[in-house]
């Protein structure tokens, strides 16, 4: 279980969040939805030790940690692929840096490439393929971290709507097939409702959780489910209310 308690950050006199608590149970896919600039990314930066928070008690699998630096894989909006490496070499970057067996992981990466529809593009360079393919490659790289916890920071928001829908089902594989524990931030409500076990609604600064929805519908989900549509309306209302506050 990932447990964040009492996270606080004041930046330039502005309280970004104070006493922020969150838990993600093992194997769960939890999603934070909030308006842009509400402090979601600051929280993630604090979790990954990019910035230091003023206060935070953090534990993962019962072990208290200062940050998640070496325990979580991280994927964000930018694919951050290295232009001088092929797609396969990019995906294997965490393996080359870590001490994992390259041979075994290469086979795994190649399998994932065909699952993700990247077969035949292993030796292409990032600038030779589409944004959707680059992000799929970044997803394979995220799995190659070989870590049980995955932080997703708006991983699909740079993609067009059609590509995004297709990649959402691939993100779901992280949970259903690889049993990862996932914490994602997004501002796409539909995306949150399609993927999440629990959705947290965030307010603008200072960031607090204003509502929480537990979704037990079986995945993969479709937006024809009236309950999902009902929740979507509620969430939208919440977010609009937050915006006018």
């Amino acid at each position: 279980m990932l447990k964040i308690s009492g996270a606080a950050k004041i930046y330039g006199g502005q309280t970004i969040f104070s006493r922020f608590d969150l838990t993600v149970a093992q194997g769960q896919f939890n999603v934070l939805v909030g308006p842009s600039g509400c402090g979601k990314s600051t929280l993630f930066d604090g979790l990954t030790n990019v910035i230091s928070l003023d206060k935070m008690a953090l534990s993962w699998k019962g072990e208290a940690l200062p940050h998640l630096g070496c325990h979580a894989a991280y994927m964000q909006q930018k694919d951050l692929l290295l232009p001088w490496f092929s797609l396969l070499d990019n995906a294997l970057l965490p393996v080359k840096i870590g001490n994992q067996s390259l041979a075994a992981m290469t086979t795994m990466a190649e399998n994932l490439f065909s699952r993700m529809g990247l077969k035949g593009y292993e030796s292409h360079r990032p600038n030779e393929v589409s944004g959707g393919m680059r992000q799929r490659c970044a997803l394979v790289r995220t799995l190659m971290f070989n870590r049980d916890l995955i932080l997703l920071d708006e991983p699909l928001s740079a993609l067009d709507a059609i590509t995004r829908r297709r990649l959402q089902s691939l993100l779901l594989l992280l949970q259903t097939e690889f049993n990862k524990t996932i914490l994602m931030i997004t501002h796409d409500i539909e995306e949150a409702l399609l993927l999440a076990d629990e959705v947290y609604i965030l307010s603008p600064l200072p960031m607090v959780i204003t509502d929480r929805f537990v979704l037990d519908q079986e995945k993969p989900r479709k937006f024809t489910d009236p309950r999902l549509l009902e929740i979507k309306e509620k969430v939208l209302a919440q977010l609009q209310e937050g915006a006018h506050r």
Partner: protein
């Protein structure tokens, strides 16, 4: 080829024709300004005299470049890895550029003799700075988001340097190397002017004193050709090492 590609060769041709015509019409003596045709005849005809000298100058430049690479790359790397060191050293690097290096040439001859050592040293001082500065700024240019990615992967400084910083800095490194290579020729020739027994600079001074102006021009022609060859060698190396589009 598009018409624009013909433009610069055409311009060169026009200048050469004007030069040739003017010299012939105005009957300017060869020891003042030889016509291009005479220069080419001398450059080719006296190749057996010029080439051994050219080989010496070429060797000086190449050694200077290698020495500069061998010192600039480690220095830029260390300065990049240790910011306090960069802070301490960069004033000296900048100040060293305020010294008119060519004014050092006579001293270098006194210290290092009439042989090639003083010229290699001269070339080295001149190339060293642009390579160090451009490589350092290329390394520092690296996108911080990539650094975060590498840190989360648990990468050591060595891994991060080899897989991220160095390839990232390569385009800027080559920009510096290209500047360095083109000024290196000047350094070596000036070193030879001041005091040498061989080399193209030495040959120029000798023929100038004897009013063999056509030979002076022929040497300049060979020097330019040499500079052009080295420039394109750097270009070829760059194409070989950078096969991607920069981010």
């Amino acid at each position: 080829m598009r018409p624009s590609n013909y433009l610069s060769p055409a311009l060169v041709a026009v200048i050469l024709v004007l030069w040739e015509g003017a010299v012939r019409l105005m009957e300017i003596p060869v020891f003042i300004l030889p016509p291009p045709s005479t220069i080419v005849v001398t450059a080719v005809g006296r190749a057996s005299l010029i080439l051994p000298h050219a080989a010496i100058t070429f060797a000086e430049i190449i050694l200077g470049i290698l020495l500069a690479l061998g010192t600039a790359i480690p220095l830029a790397t260390v300065m990049f890895a240790k910011p306090p060191l960069e802070k301490a050293l960069s004033p000296f690097l900048v100040a060293s550029q305020a010294i008119p290096v060519f004014a050092l040439a006579p001293l270098l001859v006194v210290w290092l003799g009439y042989g090639i050592a003083s010229k290699v040293f001269m070339a080295w001082i001149i190339i060293f700075f642009p390579i160090t500065v451009s490589l350092l700024s290329g390394l520092k240019n690296c996108d911080p988001e990539y650094r975060v990615l590498f840190r989360l992967m648990g990468a050591s400084f060595y891994d991060t340097f080899m897989l991220l910083y160095w390839p990232w800095a390569l385009p800027q490194f080559f920009a510096g190397l290209r500047v360095g290579v083109s000024v290196a020729t000047i350094g070596a020739v000036i070193g030879e002017w001041v005091g040498a027994q061989q080399g193209l600079g030495f040959l120029m001074i000798q023929s100038n004193a004897r009013l063999q102006v056509d030979l002076v021009f022929a040497v300049i022609l060979w020097l330019s050709a040499m500079g052009l060859v080295m420039w394109s060698l750097v270009g070829i190396l760059e194409k070989k090492m950078i096969k991607w589009k920069p981010i």
